[in-house]
């Protein structure tokens, strides 16, 4: 189990995350939902341990082990990974090389991962992971890379952003693939359509967990309340 215990995080004297506690299980699909700017992605970055995202208070526990002070690499080696909302581009690196990352991965496995994200391996394996890929294509390559990593916990930051509406089903299928393979998925989104497909949700408002529970109930509350109230975060911080 991956546990966040009373995480607090501030930047430039602004309290961004104000005492958040969460639990994530392997083989289960979780959602962190909330309006833009409430701190959803920040929670994802804190779990991954990115530089500039060290919590001021609280602990992150993986199967009881405190990983709060571990580096990004150490967390990744323990099975945690992150799909960025806008994945970085790399000059001169082919999709094939990016997917393998110097590991010995059979080509068939790479092809299957690309097919799962609706990319034709024949056209994509030798393309570059650079700015010539569209935002949607880049995101799909990143999803394929995550599939090959077989993580224990996967943080998906706005997995549908930059991807066409037709690909929504693909994302749902990929999330199902992760679940079936025992990965604990943490979906960060403000899209109800995505959140509804998750099992357990945390509704974030102004850096706090406002509500948690079965996704159906949380999404229903979010629809009724948060859609018409986008400024709580702004009002509190000012």
């Amino acid at each position: 189990m991956l546990v966040l215990e009373n995480i607090r995080y501030s930047r430039n004297s602004n309290d961004i995350i104000k005492g958040v506690s969460m639990k994530f299980e392997q083989g289960k699909v979780h959602c962190i939902i909330g309006n833009n700017g409430v701190g959803k992605s920040t929670i994802g970055y804190i779990i991954m341990g990115l530089s500039d995202y060290k919590p001021n208070e609280g602990r992150i526990l993986l199967d009881g082990e405190d990983i709060t002070n571990l580096s990004v690499t150490e967390r990744a080696k323990k099975g945690i990974t992150l799909l960025w909302q806008e994945p970085a581009r790399f000059e001169g690196i082919t999709v094939k090389s990016y997917l393998s990352l110097n590991r010995k991965i059979p080509q068939k496995e790479m092809e299957r991962a690309l097919e799962l994200v609706n990319l034709d391996p024949k056209f994509y394996l030798n393309r570059m992971v650079d700015k010539k890929l569209s935002g949607g294509e880049r995101k799909k390559v990143e999803l394929a890379s995550c599939i090959l990593l077989k993580p224990r916990y996967l943080i998906l930051d706005e997995p549908d952003s930059g991807i066409d509406i037709m690909s929504l089903d693909m994302i749902v299928n990929v999330i199902r693939h992760f679940k079936e393979n025992g990965t604990g998925v943490i979906v960060i989104t403000h899209r109800k359509e995505i959140a509804k497909r998750c099992e357990y949700s945390y509704l974030i408002c102004a850096g706090k967990v406002l509500l948690e529970g079965k996704s159906e109930r949380i999404v229903s509350y979010y629809e009724k309340t948060c859609d018409t109230c986008g400024h709580i975060n702004y009002l509190e911080e000012n």
Binding site: M48, L50, S51, S71, V72, T73, R75, A76, K77, I80, T81, L82, W84, P87, A88, F90, E91, G92, I93, S97, L101, N102, S145, L149
Partner: protein, 319 residues
């Protein structure tokens, strides 16, 4: 292949070093046009139909090589130009003169094998004319000694005639640079196109100077010049990219990316864009700095250490 009598051993040694560094066996293939220079001597020469090569050595040691390719010639396999130096110290002076006819298609692969020298000044001046509607690619790869005693100066002046294309790749990424000064000055006639690309990896106290100039003299001429430098330790790298839009509808883009690692490096990039015709369009892009944190962390989130991630990124940049 004509191997000059008495220089068979030097020829073999150069070919061996080349093959070891590249896994390419083309130099002994009789179907491949080759010019092999060792020190101040041409030691091997092989020509193909439509291509004429002559060489002579001046009394001061300057090796002069003229390459002429007839109109409408298509050379299906790359022409290999191999210049090497097998002594410990010295000076290598080279002058290449290329005249490439109209409707020619050719690719040159140049290799500079300077892996055994302690101190060398390699000075090469090239003049190249590319005829109308021709398509010429020139790839230049260098292999230098790890001691850093090599000083390479390579100065190229080119004229690319109407509707012709010239693509150039200059790579010094696999071995130590020492000191390098690359100047590429290209004039383009109407509808001519050029794509200049240079990639250099500077280590220790290497000194890198790159100057690329595109003179877009003809209407609809266009060009892209891209320089990528990775500088570590106390390497110095200074890049100047110039583009002159001298004719209507000419378009040029220059790009310089310098990635640094280490507190002792010194890098700079100076773009010069000058439009002399209101219908010309020039653009510029540059970045100088460390490897982007988001790139490093993307790879670290997949289990690579910071050093492994940096190496992976740099290998891509310089590939």
């Amino acid at each position: 292949m004509d191997i000059v009598k008495g220089y068979e051993k030097e020829f073999d040694q150069l070919v061996e070093i080349y093959e070891k560094n590249t896994n390419d066996r083309s130099l002994r293939n009789p179907a491949v046009a080759t010019i092999i220079v060792s020190g101040n001597r041409v030691v091997g020469l092989n020509s193909v139909n439509g291509m004429h090569v002559t060489s002579r050595v001046r009394s001061d040691g300057l090796v002069m090589i003229d390459v002429e390719i007839e109109d409408n010639t298509v050379i299906p396999v790359p022409v290999h130009l191999c210049t090497g130096f097998l002594e410990k110290k010295g000076e290598q002076l080279l002058r290449f003169n290329y005249i490439i006819g109209n409707n020619v298609k050719v690719k040159f692969k140049s290799h500079c094998i300077l892996t055994r020298v302690e101190k060398l000044h390699h000075h090469m001046v090239s003049e190249m004319y590319i005829g109308k509607h021709s398509h010429v690619v020139y790839e230049d790869e260098h292999f230098h000694d790890e001691g850093g005693g090599v000083f390479v100066e390579t100065i190229t002046h080119m004229k690319v005639d109407e509707h012709a294309y010239f693509g150039s790749k200059f790579y010094e990424t696999k071995t130590r640079v020492g000191r390098i000064n690359v100047v590429m000055d290209v004039e383009l006639a109407a509808h001519a196109k050029v794509n200049l690309e240079s990639k250099i990896y500077g280590r220790k106290n290497d000194i890198i100077d790159i100057k690329e100039i595109m003179r877009l003299n003809g209407e609809h001429a266009s060009g892209v010049a891209t320089s990528t430098v990775f500088a570590t330790d106390s390497a110095q790298a200074h890049v100047i990219n110039e583009a002159y839009g001298n004719a209507a509808y000419s378009r040029g883009h220059i790009e310089c990316n310098e990635v640094v690692k280490g507190s002792g490096v010194s890098v700079s990039t100076i773009p010069v864009l000058k439009v002399n015709n209101e219908k010309a369009e020039l653009t510029h892009e540059a970045s100088v700095g460390r490897i982007k944190q988001e790139q490093l962390e993307t790879l670290m989130a997949k289990g690579l250490t910071e050093d492994e991630a940096a190496e992976f990124i740099v290998n891509g940049l310089l590939s």
